[in-house]
Protein backbone atom coordinates (compact mmCIF):
# COMPACT_ATOMS: atom_id res chain seq x y z
CA UNK A 1 0.00 0.00 0.00
CA UNK A 2 1.32 3.43 -0.86
CA UNK A 3 2.01 6.11 1.69
CA UNK A 4 -0.10 9.22 2.15
CA UNK A 5 0.75 12.52 3.79
CA UNK A 6 -1.10 12.91 7.10
CA UNK A 7 -1.11 15.16 10.15
CA UNK A 8 -0.16 13.47 13.43
CA UNK A 9 -3.67 14.08 14.73
CA UNK A 10 -5.24 12.49 11.65
CA UNK A 11 -2.88 9.53 11.93
CA UNK A 12 -4.01 8.98 15.54
CA UNK A 13 -7.63 8.98 14.35
CA UNK A 14 -6.92 6.54 11.51
CA UNK A 15 -5.03 4.22 13.86
CA UNK A 16 -8.06 4.22 16.16
CA UNK A 17 -10.67 3.83 13.44
CA UNK A 18 -8.80 1.03 11.71
CA UNK A 19 -8.67 -0.97 14.93
CA UNK A 20 -12.34 -0.74 15.66
CA UNK A 21 -12.80 2.56 17.52
CA UNK A 22 -16.47 3.45 17.02
CA UNK A 23 -17.05 6.01 19.75
CA UNK A 24 -15.28 9.30 20.31
CA UNK A 25 -16.01 11.87 22.99
CA UNK A 26 -14.07 15.08 23.28
CA UNK A 27 -13.96 18.74 24.07
CA UNK A 28 -11.89 21.26 22.07
CA UNK A 29 -8.44 22.40 23.13
CA UNK A 30 -5.35 23.40 21.13
CA UNK A 31 -3.19 21.65 19.87
CA UNK A 32 -5.41 18.60 19.34
CA UNK A 33 -8.56 20.09 17.81
CA UNK A 34 -7.93 18.23 14.58
CA UNK A 35 -8.66 14.95 16.40
CA UNK A 36 -12.30 15.73 17.27
CA UNK A 37 -12.67 17.53 13.93
CA UNK A 38 -11.59 14.40 12.03
CA UNK A 39 -13.62 12.05 14.22
CA UNK A 40 -16.75 14.20 13.86
CA UNK A 41 -16.64 13.40 10.13
CA UNK A 42 -15.52 9.77 10.31
CA UNK A 43 -17.56 8.38 13.20
CA UNK A 44 -20.99 8.97 11.62
CA UNK A 45 -19.71 7.61 8.27
CA UNK A 46 -18.75 4.35 10.00
CA UNK A 47 -21.94 4.06 12.03
CA UNK A 48 -20.07 5.12 15.16
CA UNK A 49 -20.76 7.81 17.70
CA UNK A 50 -19.20 11.25 17.99
CA UNK A 51 -20.12 13.58 20.81
CA UNK A 52 -18.64 16.96 21.51
CA UNK A 53 -19.18 16.82 25.23
CA UNK A 54 -19.96 19.80 27.46
CA UNK A 55 -16.63 19.36 29.23
CA UNK A 56 -13.60 17.08 29.51
CA UNK A 57 -15.13 15.56 32.63
CA UNK A 58 -18.25 14.63 30.69
CA UNK A 59 -16.18 13.26 27.79
CA UNK A 60 -14.17 10.83 29.90
CA UNK A 61 -17.33 9.62 31.64
CA UNK A 62 -18.95 9.03 28.25
CA UNK A 63 -15.91 6.90 27.44
CA UNK A 64 -16.52 5.03 30.71
CA UNK A 65 -20.06 4.26 29.60
CA UNK A 66 -19.39 3.36 25.98
CA UNK A 67 -16.27 1.29 26.68
CA UNK A 68 -18.08 -0.37 29.59
CA UNK A 69 -20.66 -1.54 27.08
CA UNK A 70 -17.85 -3.16 25.12
CA UNK A 71 -17.36 -0.54 22.39
CA UNK A 72 -13.83 0.53 21.50
CA UNK A 73 -13.91 4.16 22.65
CA UNK A 74 -11.45 7.04 22.73
CA UNK A 75 -11.15 10.56 24.05
CA UNK A 76 -8.48 13.11 23.31
CA UNK A 77 -7.33 16.34 24.87
CA UNK A 78 -4.29 18.39 25.75
CA UNK A 79 -2.63 18.89 29.12
CA UNK A 80 -5.14 21.07 31.08
CA UNK A 81 -7.99 19.04 29.64
CA UNK A 82 -6.32 15.77 30.58
CA UNK A 83 -5.97 17.04 34.14
CA UNK A 84 -9.75 17.47 34.20
CA UNK A 85 -10.18 13.87 33.04
CA UNK A 86 -8.13 12.36 35.84
CA UNK A 87 -11.03 11.50 38.15
CA UNK A 88 -12.73 9.61 35.36
CA UNK A 89 -9.52 7.85 34.36
CA UNK A 90 -9.05 6.64 37.94
CA UNK A 91 -12.65 5.28 37.99
CA UNK A 92 -12.09 3.58 34.62
CA UNK A 93 -8.82 2.03 35.84
CA UNK A 94 -10.55 0.71 38.97
CA UNK A 95 -13.51 -0.65 37.00
CA UNK A 96 -11.02 -2.28 34.58
CA UNK A 97 -12.49 -0.78 31.43
CA UNK A 98 -10.22 -0.74 28.38
CA UNK A 99 -10.17 2.53 26.45
CA UNK A 100 -7.73 4.95 24.85
CA UNK A 101 -6.96 8.46 26.07
CA UNK A 102 -4.85 10.75 23.89
CA UNK A 103 -2.84 13.59 25.41
CA UNK A 104 -1.21 15.96 22.92
CA UNK A 105 0.87 17.78 25.51
CA UNK A 106 1.17 21.56 25.62
CA UNK A 107 3.26 23.68 27.93
CA UNK A 108 2.17 23.93 31.57
CA UNK A 109 1.58 24.26 34.42
CA UNK A 110 -1.86 25.83 34.56
CA UNK A 111 -3.38 26.84 31.26
CA UNK A 112 0.24 27.43 30.25
CA UNK A 113 0.89 27.81 26.53
CA UNK A 114 -0.17 25.93 23.42
CA UNK A 115 3.29 24.94 22.18
CA UNK A 116 4.86 21.46 22.55
CA UNK A 117 5.91 20.17 25.97
CA UNK A 118 6.41 16.96 27.92
CA UNK A 119 5.50 18.17 31.38
CA UNK A 120 2.75 15.57 31.84
CA UNK A 121 5.11 12.60 32.14
CA UNK A 122 4.57 12.19 35.88
CA UNK A 123 0.81 12.53 35.50
CA UNK A 124 0.70 9.94 32.72
CA UNK A 125 3.07 7.34 34.14
CA UNK A 126 2.67 7.61 37.91
CA UNK A 127 -1.09 7.37 38.10
CA UNK A 128 -2.39 10.87 37.47
CA UNK A 129 -5.59 10.50 39.40
CA UNK A 130 -6.08 9.16 42.92
CA UNK A 131 -5.36 5.63 44.07
CA UNK A 132 -3.02 2.83 43.09
CA UNK A 133 -3.31 2.42 39.35
CA UNK A 134 -1.39 2.79 36.10
CA UNK A 135 -2.12 3.32 32.45
CA UNK A 136 -0.17 1.75 29.63
CA UNK A 137 1.54 4.81 28.15
CA UNK A 138 2.84 4.87 24.57
CA UNK A 139 5.02 7.67 23.18
CA UNK A 140 5.05 8.06 19.38
CA UNK A 141 7.85 10.06 17.79
CA UNK A 142 6.64 10.12 14.20
CA UNK A 143 3.34 10.37 12.39
CA UNK A 144 3.61 6.71 11.38
CA UNK A 145 4.03 5.75 15.03
CA UNK A 146 1.12 8.01 16.01
CA UNK A 147 -1.02 5.77 13.80
CA UNK A 148 0.59 2.44 14.71
CA UNK A 149 0.71 3.06 18.47
CA UNK A 150 -2.94 4.14 18.60
CA UNK A 151 -3.85 1.01 16.66
CA UNK A 152 -1.84 -1.10 19.12
CA UNK A 153 -3.26 0.78 22.12
CA UNK A 154 -6.74 -0.65 21.60
CA UNK A 155 -5.42 -4.22 21.57
CA UNK A 156 -3.23 -3.64 24.63
CA UNK A 157 -6.10 -2.02 26.51
CA UNK A 158 -8.42 -4.94 25.73
CA UNK A 159 -5.79 -7.58 26.48
CA UNK A 160 -5.11 -6.32 30.00
CA UNK A 161 -8.36 -4.44 30.66
CA UNK A 162 -6.30 -1.35 31.42
CA UNK A 163 -6.81 2.12 29.92
CA UNK A 164 -4.09 3.07 27.49
CA UNK A 165 -2.70 6.55 26.90
CA UNK A 166 -1.06 7.99 23.80
CA UNK A 167 1.32 10.63 25.15
CA UNK A 168 2.54 12.90 22.37
CA UNK A 169 3.85 16.44 22.32
CA UNK A 170 2.22 19.21 20.33
CA UNK A 171 4.72 18.82 17.52
CA UNK A 172 3.64 15.24 16.76
CA UNK A 173 0.08 16.51 16.53
CA UNK A 174 0.92 19.20 13.99
CA UNK A 175 3.62 17.44 11.96
CA UNK A 176 2.77 15.97 8.53
CA UNK A 177 4.65 12.91 7.32
CA UNK A 178 4.07 9.99 4.99
CA UNK A 179 2.09 7.20 6.60
CA UNK A 180 1.26 3.70 5.52
CA UNK A 181 -2.15 2.99 7.00
CA UNK A 182 -3.05 -0.46 8.32
CA UNK A 183 -6.13 -2.09 6.76
CA UNK A 184 -9.54 -1.42 8.30
CA UNK A 185 -10.15 -4.24 10.76
CA UNK A 186 -13.64 -5.71 10.63
CA UNK A 187 -15.47 -5.36 13.96
CA UNK A 188 -16.28 -9.08 13.84
CA UNK A 189 -12.55 -9.73 14.15
CA UNK A 190 -12.34 -8.07 17.58
CA UNK A 191 -12.61 -10.59 20.45
CA UNK A 192 -15.84 -10.52 22.43
CA UNK A 193 -15.69 -8.94 25.88
CA UNK A 194 -17.11 -11.37 28.37
CA UNK A 195 -17.33 -8.71 31.07
CA UNK A 196 -19.03 -5.91 29.09
CA UNK A 197 -22.35 -4.51 30.26
CA UNK A 198 -23.83 -4.94 26.83
CA UNK A 199 -27.38 -5.86 27.83
CA UNK A 200 -28.84 -8.76 29.82
CA UNK A 201 -30.40 -10.84 27.02
CA UNK A 202 -30.42 -13.97 29.15
CA UNK A 203 -26.73 -13.60 30.07
CA UNK A 204 -25.48 -13.57 33.64
CA UNK A 205 -25.74 -10.21 35.40
CA UNK A 206 -22.64 -8.08 34.88
CA UNK A 207 -21.63 -5.05 36.93
CA UNK A 208 -18.82 -2.57 36.30
CA UNK A 209 -18.15 -0.46 39.32
CA UNK A 210 -15.36 1.44 41.01
CA UNK A 211 -17.01 1.67 44.42
CA UNK A 212 -15.77 -1.28 46.47
CA UNK A 213 -16.67 -0.24 49.94
CA UNK A 214 -15.60 -3.31 51.94
CA UNK A 215 -11.90 -3.29 52.78
CA UNK A 216 -11.77 -7.09 52.53
CA UNK A 217 -12.94 -6.77 48.92
CA UNK A 218 -11.05 -3.64 47.85
CA UNK A 219 -7.62 -4.92 48.87
CA UNK A 220 -7.79 -8.08 46.74
CA UNK A 221 -9.16 -5.99 43.86
CA UNK A 222 -6.23 -3.57 44.05
CA UNK A 223 -3.80 -6.48 44.39
CA UNK A 224 -5.32 -8.02 41.28
CA UNK A 225 -4.78 -4.72 39.45
CA UNK A 226 -1.17 -4.74 40.59
CA UNK A 227 -0.72 -8.28 39.28
CA UNK A 228 -1.88 -7.01 35.90
CA UNK A 229 0.64 -4.14 36.04
CA UNK A 230 3.37 -6.65 36.92
CA UNK A 231 2.37 -8.74 33.93
CA UNK A 232 2.38 -5.63 31.71
CA UNK A 233 5.84 -4.78 33.04
CA UNK A 234 7.08 -8.26 32.22
CA UNK A 235 5.62 -8.35 28.70
CA UNK A 236 5.32 -4.88 27.24
CA UNK A 237 8.45 -2.82 27.88
CA UNK A 238 9.58 -1.43 24.52
CA UNK A 239 12.47 0.80 23.47
CA UNK A 240 14.84 1.41 20.59
CA UNK A 241 18.57 1.62 21.25
CA UNK A 242 20.79 3.41 18.74
CA UNK A 243 24.60 3.13 18.73
CA UNK A 244 24.69 2.27 22.43
CA UNK A 245 27.00 -0.78 22.23
CA UNK A 246 30.21 1.26 22.48
CA UNK A 247 28.72 4.54 23.73
CA UNK A 248 30.45 6.57 26.43
CA UNK A 249 27.43 8.79 26.84
CA UNK A 250 23.92 7.40 26.41
CA UNK A 251 21.29 10.03 25.70
CA UNK A 252 17.60 9.34 26.09
CA UNK A 253 14.41 11.07 25.03
CA UNK A 254 10.91 10.20 23.88
CA UNK A 255 8.54 11.75 21.35
CA UNK A 256 9.75 14.46 18.98
CA UNK A 257 12.71 15.23 21.20
CA UNK A 258 14.03 11.72 20.55
CA UNK A 259 14.45 12.63 16.89
CA UNK A 260 16.44 15.76 17.70
CA UNK A 261 18.50 13.66 20.11
CA UNK A 262 19.19 11.14 17.35
CA UNK A 263 20.46 13.99 15.14
CA UNK A 264 22.62 15.15 18.04
CA UNK A 265 24.03 11.63 18.47
CA UNK A 266 24.97 11.56 14.79
CA UNK A 267 26.66 14.96 15.14
CA UNK A 268 28.52 13.84 18.28
CA UNK A 269 29.76 10.76 16.40
CA UNK A 270 30.93 13.03 13.55
CA UNK A 271 32.93 14.96 16.15
CA UNK A 272 34.49 11.70 17.34
CA UNK A 273 32.50 11.39 20.57
CA UNK A 274 31.04 7.96 21.25
CA UNK A 275 27.40 8.76 21.86
CA UNK A 276 24.29 6.63 21.60
CA UNK A 277 20.66 6.92 22.57
CA UNK A 278 17.73 4.99 23.95
CA UNK A 279 14.23 5.94 22.88
CA UNK A 280 11.49 4.54 25.13
CA UNK A 281 8.39 3.60 23.13
CA UNK A 282 6.50 2.65 26.28
CA UNK A 283 6.74 5.12 29.16
CA UNK A 284 4.69 2.85 31.39
CA UNK A 285 5.97 0.19 31.65
CA UNK A 286 9.31 1.99 31.55
CA UNK A 287 11.91 0.07 29.51
CA UNK A 288 14.41 -0.13 32.38
CA UNK A 289 16.00 -3.23 30.81
CA UNK A 290 17.57 -1.15 28.03
CA UNK A 291 19.07 1.29 30.55
CA UNK A 292 20.29 -1.45 32.87
CA UNK A 293 22.03 -3.11 29.91
CA UNK A 294 23.92 0.11 29.11
CA UNK A 295 24.68 0.81 32.79
CA UNK A 296 26.31 -2.61 33.04
CA UNK A 297 28.71 -1.87 30.16
CA UNK A 298 32.22 -0.73 31.01
CA UNK A 299 32.29 1.81 28.19
CA UNK A 300 29.25 3.77 29.41
CA UNK A 301 30.34 6.74 31.51
CA UNK A 302 27.14 8.78 31.76
CA UNK A 303 23.47 9.05 30.87
CA UNK A 304 21.68 12.20 29.76
CA UNK A 305 17.90 12.56 29.69
CA UNK A 306 16.64 15.29 27.36
CA UNK A 307 13.06 16.41 27.89
CA UNK A 308 10.62 19.23 27.30
CA UNK A 309 10.23 19.50 31.07
CA UNK A 310 12.30 20.32 34.11
CA UNK A 311 13.22 16.66 34.67
CA UNK A 312 10.56 13.97 34.92
CA UNK A 313 11.55 10.88 32.92
CA UNK A 314 15.07 11.35 34.31
CA UNK A 315 13.77 9.92 37.61
CA UNK A 316 12.85 6.64 35.93
CA UNK A 317 16.23 6.63 34.18
CA UNK A 318 17.94 7.01 37.58
CA UNK A 319 15.90 4.13 39.01
CA UNK A 320 16.84 1.96 36.02
CA UNK A 321 20.54 2.88 36.17
CA UNK A 322 20.38 2.32 39.93
CA UNK A 323 23.42 4.39 40.88
CA UNK A 324 25.82 2.50 38.61
CA UNK A 325 26.58 5.57 36.47
CA UNK A 326 25.81 9.29 36.78
CA UNK A 327 22.54 10.39 35.18
CA UNK A 328 22.29 14.00 33.99
CA UNK A 329 19.43 16.09 32.71
CA UNK A 330 18.91 18.74 30.06
CA UNK A 331 15.50 20.23 29.39
CA UNK A 332 13.57 23.15 28.01
CA UNK A 333 10.07 24.26 28.95
CA UNK A 334 7.46 26.84 28.08
CA UNK A 335 6.95 25.45 24.57
CA UNK A 336 10.59 25.84 23.56
CA UNK A 337 12.25 22.92 21.81
CA UNK A 338 16.02 22.39 22.14
CA UNK A 339 18.09 22.60 19.00
CA UNK A 340 20.50 19.86 18.00
CA UNK A 341 23.47 22.08 18.87
CA UNK A 342 22.25 22.68 22.42
CA UNK A 343 21.99 18.94 23.01
CA UNK A 344 25.45 18.32 21.52
CA UNK A 345 26.96 20.92 23.88
CA UNK A 346 25.06 19.52 26.89
CA UNK A 347 26.25 15.98 26.10
CA UNK A 348 29.88 17.13 25.84
CA UNK A 349 29.64 19.09 29.08
CA UNK A 350 28.11 16.23 31.06
CA UNK A 351 30.49 13.62 29.63
CA UNK A 352 33.39 15.78 30.78
CA UNK A 353 31.76 16.28 34.18
CA UNK A 354 31.33 12.50 34.56
CA UNK A 355 35.00 11.95 33.71
CA UNK A 356 36.12 14.61 36.22
CA UNK A 357 33.90 13.28 38.99
CA UNK A 358 35.08 9.72 38.51
Amino acid sequence: MSKILLHGTEAICEGAIRNGCRAFFGYPITPQNEVPEYMSVKMPQLGGTFVQAESEVAAINMVYGAAGAGIRAMTSSSSPGVSLKQEGISYIACARIPCVVVNIMRAGPGLGGILPAQGDYFQATKGGGHGDYHLIVLAPSSVQEACDFTYAAFDLADKYRVPCMILADGMIGQLMEPVELPPLRPLSDIPEKKWATSGHYGKERRVLNSLIIKPEELEPHVNELQRTYDEIYANERRSVSYLTEDAEIVLTAYGTVARIVKSAVNELRRQGIKAGCIRPLTLYPFPDDAFAACAARGCTKAFLSVELSLGQMVEDVRLAVNGKKPVYFYGRTGGNVPEEGEIVEAAKKFLQQAEEEK
Binding site: L5, G170, M176, E177, P178, R259, K262, S263, N266, E340
Partner: protein
Protein backbone atom coordinates in the same frame (compact mmCIF):
# COMPACT_ATOMS: atom_id res chain seq x y z
CA UNK B 1 18.60 16.42 2.59
CA UNK B 2 17.16 19.87 1.92
CA UNK B 3 15.55 21.89 4.70
CA UNK B 4 13.23 24.61 3.47
CA UNK B 5 11.56 27.29 5.56
CA UNK B 6 8.60 29.03 3.96
CA UNK B 7 7.36 32.20 5.62
CA UNK B 8 5.00 35.05 4.92
CA UNK B 9 1.75 36.65 5.89
CA UNK B 10 -1.30 34.54 6.69
CA UNK B 11 -3.25 34.16 3.44
CA UNK B 12 -0.25 34.26 1.09
CA UNK B 13 -0.32 30.52 0.64
CA UNK B 14 2.78 29.72 2.66
CA UNK B 15 1.28 26.60 4.19
CA UNK B 16 -0.23 25.38 0.90
CA UNK B 17 3.09 25.85 -0.88
CA UNK B 18 4.75 23.84 1.87
CA UNK B 19 2.23 21.06 1.47
CA UNK B 20 2.69 21.00 -2.31
CA UNK B 21 6.41 20.61 -1.76
CA UNK B 22 5.98 17.82 0.77
CA UNK B 23 3.42 16.02 -1.41
CA UNK B 24 5.75 16.34 -4.42
CA UNK B 25 8.64 14.85 -2.47
CA UNK B 26 6.41 12.00 -1.31
CA UNK B 27 5.30 11.29 -4.90
CA UNK B 28 8.96 10.98 -5.84
CA UNK B 29 9.41 8.34 -3.14
CA UNK B 30 11.47 10.58 -0.88
CA UNK B 31 11.24 10.99 2.87
CA UNK B 32 9.41 14.20 3.74
CA UNK B 33 8.22 16.11 6.76
CA UNK B 34 6.02 19.19 6.97
CA UNK B 35 5.78 21.12 10.21
CA UNK B 36 3.56 24.21 10.32
CA UNK B 37 4.39 26.75 13.02
CA UNK B 38 1.32 26.95 15.16
CA UNK B 39 0.73 29.46 17.86
CA UNK B 40 -1.80 32.09 18.82
CA UNK B 41 -1.88 33.11 15.14
CA UNK B 42 -4.62 35.19 13.64
CA UNK B 43 -5.73 36.28 10.21
CA UNK B 44 -3.25 38.75 8.80
CA UNK B 45 -0.55 37.50 11.18
CA UNK B 46 2.57 35.61 10.27
CA UNK B 47 2.65 32.07 8.96
CA UNK B 48 5.54 29.72 8.41
CA UNK B 49 6.26 26.07 7.89
CA UNK B 50 9.29 23.81 7.70
CA UNK B 51 9.57 21.25 4.93
CA UNK B 52 12.34 18.66 4.79
CA UNK B 53 12.91 16.52 1.72
CA UNK B 54 15.47 13.78 2.06
CA UNK B 55 16.73 10.56 0.54
CA UNK B 56 17.18 9.12 4.03
CA UNK B 57 15.12 8.92 7.21
CA UNK B 58 14.49 12.39 8.65
CA UNK B 59 15.66 12.73 12.24
CA UNK B 60 14.67 16.16 13.50
CA UNK B 61 11.70 17.76 11.72
CA UNK B 62 12.84 21.23 12.80
CA UNK B 63 14.46 23.76 10.44
CA UNK B 64 16.36 26.01 12.80
CA UNK B 65 19.05 26.65 10.18
CA UNK B 66 17.31 26.11 6.84
CA UNK B 67 19.16 25.49 3.58
CA UNK B 68 16.55 27.53 1.76
CA UNK B 69 14.33 30.36 2.95
CA UNK B 70 11.31 31.39 0.93
CA UNK B 71 10.12 34.74 2.27
CA UNK B 72 6.88 36.09 0.84
CA UNK B 73 6.97 39.40 2.72
CA UNK B 74 9.47 41.78 4.31
CA UNK B 75 8.92 40.94 8.01
CA UNK B 76 9.52 37.23 7.43
CA UNK B 77 12.55 37.98 5.24
CA UNK B 78 14.19 40.02 7.98
CA UNK B 79 13.14 37.63 10.74
CA UNK B 80 14.49 34.48 9.12
CA UNK B 81 17.35 35.66 6.85
CA UNK B 82 19.89 35.53 9.72
CA UNK B 83 18.99 31.87 10.38
CA UNK B 84 19.79 30.53 6.90
CA UNK B 85 22.78 28.19 6.82
CA UNK B 86 25.98 29.67 5.45
CA UNK B 87 26.02 28.90 1.72
CA UNK B 88 22.24 28.66 1.68
CA UNK B 89 19.64 30.27 -0.55
CA UNK B 90 17.06 32.98 0.11
CA UNK B 91 14.17 33.52 -2.29
CA UNK B 92 12.44 36.77 -1.41
CA UNK B 93 9.30 38.40 -2.79
CA UNK B 94 10.82 41.58 -4.27
CA UNK B 95 7.34 42.95 -5.07
CA UNK B 96 6.76 43.82 -1.41
CA UNK B 97 10.13 43.41 0.26
CA UNK B 98 13.66 44.70 0.03
CA UNK B 99 16.34 42.06 -0.43
CA UNK B 100 19.20 43.25 1.76
CA UNK B 101 20.03 40.29 4.00
CA UNK B 102 23.04 41.99 5.62
CA UNK B 103 25.26 38.99 4.93
CA UNK B 104 27.48 37.84 2.08
CA UNK B 105 27.49 34.07 2.65
CA UNK B 106 24.07 33.33 1.18
CA UNK B 107 22.63 33.62 -2.34
CA UNK B 108 19.63 35.94 -2.45
CA UNK B 109 17.16 35.69 -5.32
CA UNK B 110 15.11 38.87 -5.45
CA UNK B 111 11.99 37.77 -7.33
CA UNK B 112 8.95 40.00 -8.00
CA UNK B 113 6.61 37.15 -7.10
CA UNK B 114 3.64 39.43 -6.59
CA UNK B 115 4.02 40.92 -10.06
CA UNK B 116 4.59 37.52 -11.67
CA UNK B 117 1.43 36.29 -9.96
CA UNK B 118 -0.65 39.26 -11.16
CA UNK B 119 0.63 38.66 -14.71
CA UNK B 120 -0.37 35.01 -14.37
CA UNK B 121 -3.88 36.12 -13.55
CA UNK B 122 -4.19 35.93 -9.76
CA UNK B 123 -2.10 37.73 -7.19
CA UNK B 124 -2.74 34.90 -4.75
CA UNK B 125 -0.45 32.65 -6.79
CA UNK B 126 2.79 34.36 -5.64
CA UNK B 127 3.52 31.24 -3.61
CA UNK B 128 3.65 29.20 -6.81
CA UNK B 129 6.05 31.68 -8.42
CA UNK B 130 8.27 31.08 -5.38
CA UNK B 131 8.11 27.32 -5.92
CA UNK B 132 9.05 27.88 -9.59
CA UNK B 133 12.22 29.65 -8.51
CA UNK B 134 12.93 26.97 -5.89
CA UNK B 135 12.59 24.12 -8.38
CA UNK B 136 14.78 25.98 -10.89
CA UNK B 137 17.46 26.86 -8.38
CA UNK B 138 17.64 23.62 -6.38
CA UNK B 139 15.87 20.82 -8.24
CA UNK B 140 14.76 19.59 -4.83
CA UNK B 141 11.67 18.16 -6.50
CA UNK B 142 10.80 17.81 -10.16
CA UNK B 143 8.66 20.34 -12.01
CA UNK B 144 6.30 17.53 -13.02
CA UNK B 145 5.63 16.53 -9.41
CA UNK B 146 4.55 20.06 -8.45
CA UNK B 147 2.31 20.31 -11.50
CA UNK B 148 0.76 16.91 -10.73
CA UNK B 149 0.05 18.04 -7.16
CA UNK B 150 -1.55 21.22 -8.46
CA UNK B 151 -3.82 19.25 -10.79
CA UNK B 152 -4.76 16.91 -7.95
CA UNK B 153 -5.52 19.76 -5.57
CA UNK B 154 -7.54 21.87 -7.99
CA UNK B 155 -9.21 19.11 -9.97
CA UNK B 156 -12.56 20.89 -9.60
CA UNK B 157 -11.16 24.37 -10.31
CA UNK B 158 -9.42 24.31 -13.71
CA UNK B 159 -9.03 28.10 -13.82
CA UNK B 160 -7.28 28.23 -10.44
CA UNK B 161 -5.09 25.39 -11.57
CA UNK B 162 -4.18 27.22 -14.75
CA UNK B 163 -3.20 30.52 -13.08
CA UNK B 164 -1.16 28.67 -10.45
CA UNK B 165 0.62 26.70 -13.15
CA UNK B 166 1.33 29.91 -15.07
CA UNK B 167 2.73 31.56 -11.93
CA UNK B 168 4.92 28.51 -11.27
CA UNK B 169 6.43 28.61 -14.76
CA UNK B 170 6.82 32.39 -14.59
CA UNK B 171 8.92 31.91 -11.45
CA UNK B 172 10.96 29.16 -13.04
CA UNK B 173 11.54 31.27 -16.16
CA UNK B 174 12.53 34.27 -14.05
CA UNK B 175 15.19 32.15 -12.39
CA UNK B 176 16.47 30.80 -15.73
CA UNK B 177 16.81 34.34 -17.10
CA UNK B 178 18.96 35.29 -14.11
CA UNK B 179 21.62 32.76 -15.07
Amino acid sequence: MVRILLAGQGGQGVLSAGRFLAESGLHEGKEVSYLPAYGPEMRGGTANCSVIISEEEIASPLCNTPDVLIALNAPSFHKFAPRVRSGGIIIVNGSISDSYAGREDVTVYDVPMGDLAIEAGDRRSANMAALGVLVGATGVVREKSIINCLHEQFVAKPRVCETNEKAFFAGKKFYENLK
